[in-house]
Symmetry: C2
Subunit: 380 residues, 2 copies
Amino acid sequence: MKYFPVFSLLASMCIAFGHAANPAEGITASTNVPEAAYPCVDAQSRATFKIHAPEAKDVKVDICGRKYDMARDENGVWSATTDPLVEGFHYYFLIIDGVSVIDPASGTFYGCGKEASGIEIPESPDASAYYTFDKSIPHGQVRECKYYSETEGKERRCFVYTPAEYETNTNSKYPVLYLQHGMGEDETGWHEQGRMANILDNAIAAGRAVPMIVVMDNGNCSHIFGSRPGETMEEFGASFTPVMLNDLIPYIEKTFRVKTDRDSRAMAGLSWGGKETLDITLSNLDKFSHIGSFSGALFFLQGGLENAYNGVFKDPKAFNDKVKVLFLSMGSEENFGSAKISKALTDAGINNIYYESPGTHHEWLTWRRSLNQFIPLLFK
Amino acid sequence: MKYFPVFSLLASMCIAFGHAANPAEGITASTNVPEAAYPCVDAQSRATFKIHAPEAKDVKVDICGRKYDMARDENGVWSATTDPLVEGFHYYFLIIDGVSVIDPASGTFYGCGKEASGIEIPESPDASAYYTFDKSIPHGQVRECKYYSETEGKERRCFVYTPAEYETNTNSKYPVLYLQHGMGEDETGWHEQGRMANILDNAIAAGRAVPMIVVMDNGNCSHIFGSRPGETMEEFGASFTPVMLNDLIPYIEKTFRVKTDRDSRAMAGLSWGGKETLDITLSNLDKFSHIGSFSGALFFLQGGLENAYNGVFKDPKAFNDKVKVLFLSMGSEENFGSAKISKALTDAGINNIYYESPGTHHEWLTWRRSLNQFIPLLFK
């Protein structure tokens, strides 16, 4: 009977996360691993972090652009409580004697070019309903798909959301939204951090959005924060274009029951993915009819609107006839230029829709809200 | 134009992983995040780890039951090279001034009750072909599905592998294998660490296994390494039974095109999931016909074979008529009792198949091989 000893060996590699959270410090964050009571979040949206590190000399928590010193108690447990944080999802790291690492108590989320800790600061039930699982409605699925890219000469991965009715209406074909993550993130971002499946499920069940397929791929086709030797940042962004046009779209249209006309094809993205969206769609308007750029439209005005994207904006009527939706958004607290660009486009006679997320920065709540505003506009 | 400064801010949270691996130290591990050159693995299956930690006083790497001291160079980069490691997948942690954390250079894998670093020690192309992506064959999908559990009163998640032909043979129904992870792991384990989708794709494409659906859920229904107050370890394991029988199976049979007779339903699991498999199937033989326990059969003989599972083994002929496959396995280097139990069963007239994975411990290569041996036996 060697069973228990083996389990003990496994357990010896592991942390016991210990006690329940002190009610004064709030409730356990939903983003923690199952056993971890901390971090927790109080009613003022302050997060309290703890870690047992008796031999460490200096421990900090790095969240929302600020590093908080943690204080050590007599048992070697370090803790810190933040100022009130904006609601929604934030990446964070612990800094242990100068090394930035994830918190063992946190689930991990791919961001910043590596696995990061994340914490969900809860909103009110009403405010968060649109991205929360609702047991009373049907649920779509998020499928991990592997395909071979001739462009890159290797296996690639994408995630595909199919709406609930895809399983039962087996003769129906669906329009497709291609949805891109930000810089340093990957194809898991919209699903994990962005809660896109809940947003789609809820909007479709309420009749706010038409049933659609959503495809999420990895837009980092060479290095994440740099470029291949000799490659500019512009070229880095452009390297996703042939993968998407020549490998991904054909794979999706071969594998899923989708509509393949341009009126049934949309693309959107956040931050760097918003720039990719504009680069790809505005140069390929024969393929895309609906465009969304969330916190991401900033190279737009370089060289003047008239010259942007080979002059696509020179003829507003032609543009407006072709592009059913051009949607720009940003958080009210970030310094992206979406509002300015929207105004410049409007002044030039280009139809567009602008959305500003109140009180949010360059962060996932801005993009959850943007997606929720964008999808009702599609394929109508 | 605030675009670049914002990206710089994001980048400032991030590590630059730096240079390419020294060829003498091998090739970059496939389990790393995209930018990280280290850890890498040499031709003798030795892994070299590096981390920049100029302020740390003591750094170790904890892998395969051993802690290796890392040495600091003049730039504050710590490194260590292991002894040759068994091929396949291993969890590991860095220990920075006494705190066990993941390596920022690694992807994360849920194991040990938290996110863990992982490293793939490559086998030869021939040996690894069965769990490697093959671009020349059709590929199934792994779907993340959310469902509501009445038993737990909350949302649950499972992953469902559908074979490639599921998309096109839309009138076909498929048999189902329920496949469980080990203790401290979760429903992501078989897919991420186990490479189950590649194993199924390859076996189905070669005609070695029939097309089947594979369902992976979370067997940790209360605490991971403990129990609810008053709950024994046995009861902890048993708590998955009502979730599986009353919530999961009905959800799968309602949502997917599956065969629902007992001859078309199998269950298998590794380690703790192997015990769960025996607990659930041997007490519910009206529902299951094919059973696999990988490194997991160890409570089996407590109280004697005759008394196990309410006497299910007392009548070998009745058992053999009912159970089409009873499969037990373990790694040759682990001290689990599968061989002994297989022999006891055989001596008692109970048909069973035993597989021993050469040279492997209580680890994922044992279980990848076990799955590859098990699936050809199913539904035939």
